[in-house]
Amino acid sequence: MSNILSVRNLVKTYPNGTQALKGVSFDVKRGEFLVVIGLSGSGKSTMLRCLNRLHHPTSGEILYTDKAGVEHDIAQAEGNEILKIRRTMGMIFQHFNLIPRHSVLNNVLYGSLGSTGSLRSMLGLYAKEDEKRAMEYLRLVGIQDKAHFRAAQLSGGQQQRVAIARALTQSPDLLLADEPVASLDPATCHIVMDYLRRVNQELGLTIICNLHFLSLVRQYATRVIALKGGKLVYEGSPSDIDDKWFAQIYGEGAKEVHIN
């Protein structure tokens, strides 16, 4: 399978001097469910945000092959090019990042902001097709009956599903997920992860997902990379992470917690 992303020597230093990423390189294959693990502060979130330029990398390359087969260096993109790249990548977040006072349907429609003109979107004039697609994806994540509720009225797990539907409405090439289940209870957490797997398998969407729990990683990932102190320390299959690797990634004395 071809690479959708090829990250080379990615470095990110924040203005206050913190070095979040110290030269990270890895490839992402089209259609895989890649999970990134590591402690809080290991650079996972920064790495993911560099991929869609919510954060701007200090140096390095992010080579990205879009649907048409054209290669871009995301790290070098500027202005409107960044917006165009973002449109091809959906993203979901630990705290869902919906607009709480707006309706579920509107939140999903915001996935098509990129393809709708500023003025049209501000007047709420979305294309009929976008509206149809938004409802379709709400159905896919099983909350079509909540379409006209305010997002804030939904439970955490439901809000994350709205966020997935929003990302899907972008018709993305790639889905970035930053700790998508870290603020959910264990039962809900599997529901959300199952939807992500469905999206990955049925829609063939490539997923890059940051996770805390190793048990989830073994269950859902097709491949794993691990970050520690801003460096890549592991790359391989989820089943190969044994106690030795676990101690290396999470530090001696860490104990694995299972979530079933």
Binding site: G17, N52, L54, M89, F93, L98, I99, L113, S118
Partner: protein, 356 residues
Amino acid sequence: MAQSTTMETAETGAAVRRTILDAFVGAYLIFAGLVFTGWGEADIVPRVPTLATAFFGVAVLMAIVSVVVNKTGIKTLGWQIYAPAHLRMKSTEELATPIYRTFWGMQMILTVVVTTLVGIKMTEIDVLKLLEADRFYHAMRLFGELFSPDWSILPKAIVKVVETIYIAFIATVIAVPVAFVLSFLMARNIMGGSKLGFTVYAVLRTVFNVSRSIEPILWAIIFSIWASFGPFAGMLALMVHSIASLAKQYSEIVEGIEDGPIEGIESTGASRLQVIWFAVVPQVVLPYISYTVYRWDTNVRMATILGFVGGGGIGVMLAEYNGQAMWPQVGCIIFVIAAVVWIMDAFSSHVRAAIK
């Protein structure tokens, strides 16, 4: 490397600020002390240039003292205020020392005490004056007349107070859209991204901080000449002040919003305008309404005073009767103003409570 340099810059900056603050506090204490002990009792005005030079001289001396004191490890008030976070680690001994026994604590307490003493002297506080039989009798008569209002002017007062409410309302209504647009241009988190953005932010902040520090009554004086006496001048004065105040308050709301929704909308590839409209505006709209209602309420109160300088409304009436010492009529007007302010206040607090 990069990290240590930024830390060093922060330390140097903090040291400079610390020294300046200590220098001025020290010089102030010495001069205030001199004033209190009666020095300069004679006409002080012609000696201002000499005194100013002396003041800066003493400040330089105090700056040296501050540097020396800090060198010995004793922390001054300037250090306490400006020290960067990474130097603020306190030893258990320091934590156990009560504030009034630390050097900076004593510096602070001394400053407050000296300022209070000088203040009492300057305001010429004289309680006995209030109790002199003659003055007391006059005051009581005035109160008596105020409390027996002349209700015959009530209809006119009501007409005029309604005018005042509308002046305040129009000033607020015109100010809102202007302040709305300005609030985003004056918010650091929106404008801080680029050099151009930051320049716009800094210029607007400065301009509006200055115009906000000019009280509406001064604007009313200017506009009553420019636009001649009347409600229009009063409205313009309130409008200018409202724009500056609302833009400041609104922009602070924008600066306090959550990043999550912004990231959420940004990640879809939305334009800058769309991000503001869909992620920022929904977060600020209710606090904006709340501040706006409060502004209207404040404007009604201010508008009652603006009449004194020709701003129209009930203030003009108040100024007329006040000038002729017609206390029963003034009493009636005060009653009307108090009633309206009370109603507006109740109304605005109800609206704000409902929005929360």
